[in-house]
């Protein structure tokens, strides 16, 4: 039985590509109203997991529930509840930022006047008002992440999934993203985002899931996962890397004056 108090709960989620198991039986849990971080090294299966959770990639096995609803069996009510910013900034490149937002709103059947009002507000908050009529193809990375987040927020979802929202984003844009997200969770909504940046996860999140090699290796409230250490130390310990920088012998020439 699914616990209705959980915004996201997966059961033995499984995906393989060819012979390689990308996600090997993941039980991801995110309590409702939490600001959750999904951390893990490259290739740990974070993107694959998020894609399956958001209904973009069909799992080979297992189940996903959002607010107690099965994503793959009962997609209609789920799709209205979630907002998604997938990896790789895949947006409609030849629309302007404003057009992208109104396209999204209309697709979701929000009345046009309402869409325009919301879009205007989002563009202003995201500091995109000046570039609103430029094509997305000409946006910088930070602008793309911001317009992507605006599009994901437009229909006021209950759960927001963001894959690497801060990757390649300048500090000013990152700060804007953080402010918007904090305001959003303060109202009781749930955010799940994946990231490499431990300091950021530590600062923002109250719930952390650590993935490694297609498995969840630790999951829970931030303080329990880091257990007195910094999240970075705890993370390196969990994924099996010592953080003391051994193995330097092979690079003895690096920085030496002889060459």
């Amino acid at each position: 039985m699914t616990d209705i108090a959980d915004a996201v709960r997966t059961h033995q989620l499984f995906k393989r590509f060819g012979h390689q198991v990308a996600v090997g039986g993941v039980d991801l849990v995110v309590p409702r109203g939490s600001f959750a971080g999904l951390v893990g090294p490259n290739g740990a299966g974070k993107t694959t997991t998020l894609s399956m959770v958001t209904g973009l990639l069909r799992p080979d096995g297992g189940a996903v529930h959002i607010d107690g609803l099965d994503v793959w069996r009962d997609p209609l009510p789920v799709k209205g509840r979630i907002g998604v910013l997938p990896e790789g900034l895949r947006l409609f490149e030849r629309l302007s930022g404003r057009e992208l937002l109104s396209y999204n709103g209309q697709l979701r059947g929000i009345p046009r006047a309402e869409v325009e009002q919301r879009a205007e507000g989002l563009l202003k908050v995201m500091d995109l008002a000046e570039s609103a009529d430029k094509l997305v193809v000409d946006y910088s990375t930070g602008m793309r992440k911001k317009i992507g987040l605006a599009a994901a927020l437009l229909h006021n979802p209950k759960v927001l999934f963001l894959d690497e929202p801060f990757e390649g984003v300048d500090p000013v844009s990152a700060n804007t993203l953080v402010e918007v997200l904090q305001r959003y969770t303060a109202s009781g909504s749930t955010v799940v985002f994946s990231s490499h940046v431990m300091e950021l996860v530590e600062r923002l999140c109250d719930w952390v899931s650590v993935m490694n090699r297609g498995q969840i290796v630790a999951q829970g409230p931030l303080d329990r996962v880091r257990a007195g250490r910094s999240l970075n130390e705890a993370f390196l310990g969990l994924v099996g890397v010592r953080g003391d920088g051994n193995g330097e012998e092979g690079l003895s020439w690096l920085g030496a004056t002889s060459a």
Binding site: L56, K79, I82, L91, E93, N104, A259
Partner: protein
């Protein structure tokens, strides 16, 4: 690591190796090999390319040799035209394929500690490495066998072949390098992508001219063309082989100087390309207009998809190329058809071009989601039923019809005027609209069953991402066969003269497109993760 593997090490290091052209040749070979690794389809593609190159090279060489059987002046004229064609192709084709070959873009090499001269020699060597350059060299060498007379002629011929080959390569490098700055900007690539279509059309030109009644005086045409081209550099090379005397020596000396000058210009361009900045992203704003459709249609997904598609047809080079291609192919076919019309004419002559137009435009919708590609997730995270996907397809069809209906009507009027009776435009337009409807219905099915990626980097040689050529072929071929068969019940009677049947064409087309959307909507909803995967291949 890669650096050491390639024998490149930083100047001043104790194990420094001189970086000669051979390093670049190995780099190129390694890029070719790396590109093939782990993909059977690409490997097969490469094998086919090699086989094609071998066949072309041997046939080309053989054909050149056979020129010896022709009268000497005609043989020389043929070689002059061929050499010029080679040079022009070498200047244009790599430009259209820009971005496909890593060694062509000097900016990727700018961080290596290499002098510009080294870089130029290396890039020259890298561009010579490949199946097509070698095939070109072999065919060019055939001219010696075909034209040269006496020992002196052969010796000078070999020199001429090498100079002509070097000229091709250096010109090609010069063109790509001096334009590489432009080609890296978004706008430059957009312009180039659309110009691909003109290149393809230009390639059709000789064919059209020959069909157009010039065939009778082929020899005369050849002589006329060759007498002009004779004084271009490749013409001189060809003439030098045939001449084999003092004039030839002078011509070759001139060509050698020219090649060196072009090479020097290339080095200058290279030096500048290495330090000039990358593309600017200062994009212009677009007008924030709603468009006609959005004003007419009720608020909602249908209007959203239809207006977005119309914007894409205008703003995305792939959209523009698609429409240009459909119109151009129709034009070419209608033109050849009207030339062939030796009595079968009459009303069919007015209706057939319009029907072809309907089929060609309908074919564009055989992969409706292809251009959305990686952005399609945005729709799929919204759609929760088969009905939503049906509405999405309807929006796409509506956009296509908005552009195509007036276009086909105009085409019908033109065809009817050419055929001699303006009234024939009415059955022609009705039939064409009906056929378009059939094409859209069938295309909806192939779009969900055989989706493939339309690469963002358009080039003239493929319309699908690497490895998806088969799917793309199956989709467009299936759509063509399917819509032709389904269109027959209305098209055939009309073409045979029962023009009143054309009244039924539009309702029939609407019925088929509705049926296609109905089936494709449910299929699309069930298969959407597969559609996403199919249209999001790295291209």
């Amino acid at each position: 690591m890669a650096g050491r593997d390639l024998g490149m090490s930083a100047a001043g290091g104790d194990g420094a190796v001189r970086v000669g052209p051979s390093v670049f040749v190995r780099l190129k070979l390694r890029l070719i090999a790396g590109n093939l690794r782990g993909s059977t389809q690409r490997l097969l593609g490469f094998v086919f390319t090699v086989i094609a190159a071998v066949v072309v090279a041997s046939l080309g060489f053989l054909a050149m040799t056979m020129l010896r059987l022709a009268p000497a002046d005609i043989a020389t004229d043929v070689v002059i035209v061929l050499f010029t064609t080679f040079l022009v192709s070498w200047a244009i084709v790599p430009l259209l394929a820009f971005g496909l070959d890593d060694t062509l873009d000097p900016s990727r090499l700018s961080l290596f500690p290499l002098r510009t001269g080294q870089l130029a020699a290396g890039m020259f060597a890298a561009s010579v490495t490949g199946v097509w350059p070698i095939a070109t060299l072999i065919i060019t060498a055939g001219a010696v066998a075909g034209l040269a007379t006496g020992i002196g002629g052969v010796l000078l011929g070999v020199v001429a072949v090498l100079v002509q080959f070097a000229l091709c390569i250096v010109t090609s490098r010069l063109v790509t390098t001096s334009l590489s700055g432009v080609l890296r900007t978004r706008r430059g690539r957009d312009v180039l992508a659309v110009s691909v279509i003109f290149f393809i059309l230009a390639a059709q030109l000789p064919n059209l001219l020959l069909n157009g009644g010039l065939a009778g005086d082929l020899a005369g045409t050849l002589r006329g063309v060759a007498s002009v081209l004779r004084w271009t550099p490749p013409g001189m090379a060809a003439h030098a082989i045939a001449d084999g005397g003092a004039v030839a020596v002078a011509e070759l000396a001139f060509l050698a100087v020219l090649t060196v000058v072009l090479g020097w210009l290339w080095i200058v361009a290279l030096r500048r390309a290495l330090v000039s900045t990358d593309a600017s992203t200062e994009g212009a704003s677009v007008r924030n207009s709603k468009g006609l459709l959005a004003r007419v249609l009720p608020d909602g997904p249908l209007a959203a998809v239809a207006t977005k598609e119309l914007k894409y047809a205008r703003r995305d080079p792939r959209g523009r190329v698609g429409w240009f291609a459909a119109v151009a192919v129709t034009g070419v076919m209608a033109f050849s058809l009207s030339r062939d019309g030796t009595g079968a004419g009459g009303v069919a002559l007015a209706i057939a071009p319009a029907c072809i137009g309907g089929v060609m435009i309908g074919l564009q919708s055989s992969n409706s989601f292809g251009i959305d590609g990686r952005s399609l997730w945005m729709n799929s995270v919204v759609y929760g039923t088969g009905r939503d996907w049906r509405t999405d397809l309807a929006g796409r069809h509506l956009a296509v019809m908005t552009i195509a209906a007036p276009l086909l009507a105009a085409l019908s009027v033109v065809a009817a005027l050419l055929a001699g009776n303006l009234v024939w435009a009415v059955p022609a337009a009705l039939t064409a609209w009906g056929i378009l409807g059939v094409g859209l219905g069938v295309g909806a099915l192939t779009s969900v069953l055989l989706p493939y990626t339309v690469p963002e980097r358009l080039n003239a040689f493929t319309g699908a991402a690497p490895g998806q050529g088969g799917v793309a072929f199956a989709a467009s071929f299936g759509a063509m066969i399917g819509s032709s068969v389904l269109a027959l019940p209305v098209a055939l009677p009309v073409l045979l003269g029962l023009t009143w049947v054309s009244v039924l064409a539009v309702p029939y087309g609407l019925l088929i497109s509705w049926g296609g959307r109905r089936i494709a909507g449910d299929l699309g909803f069930r298969r959407y993760p597969e559609i996403l995967a199919g249209t999001s291949q790295p291209g």
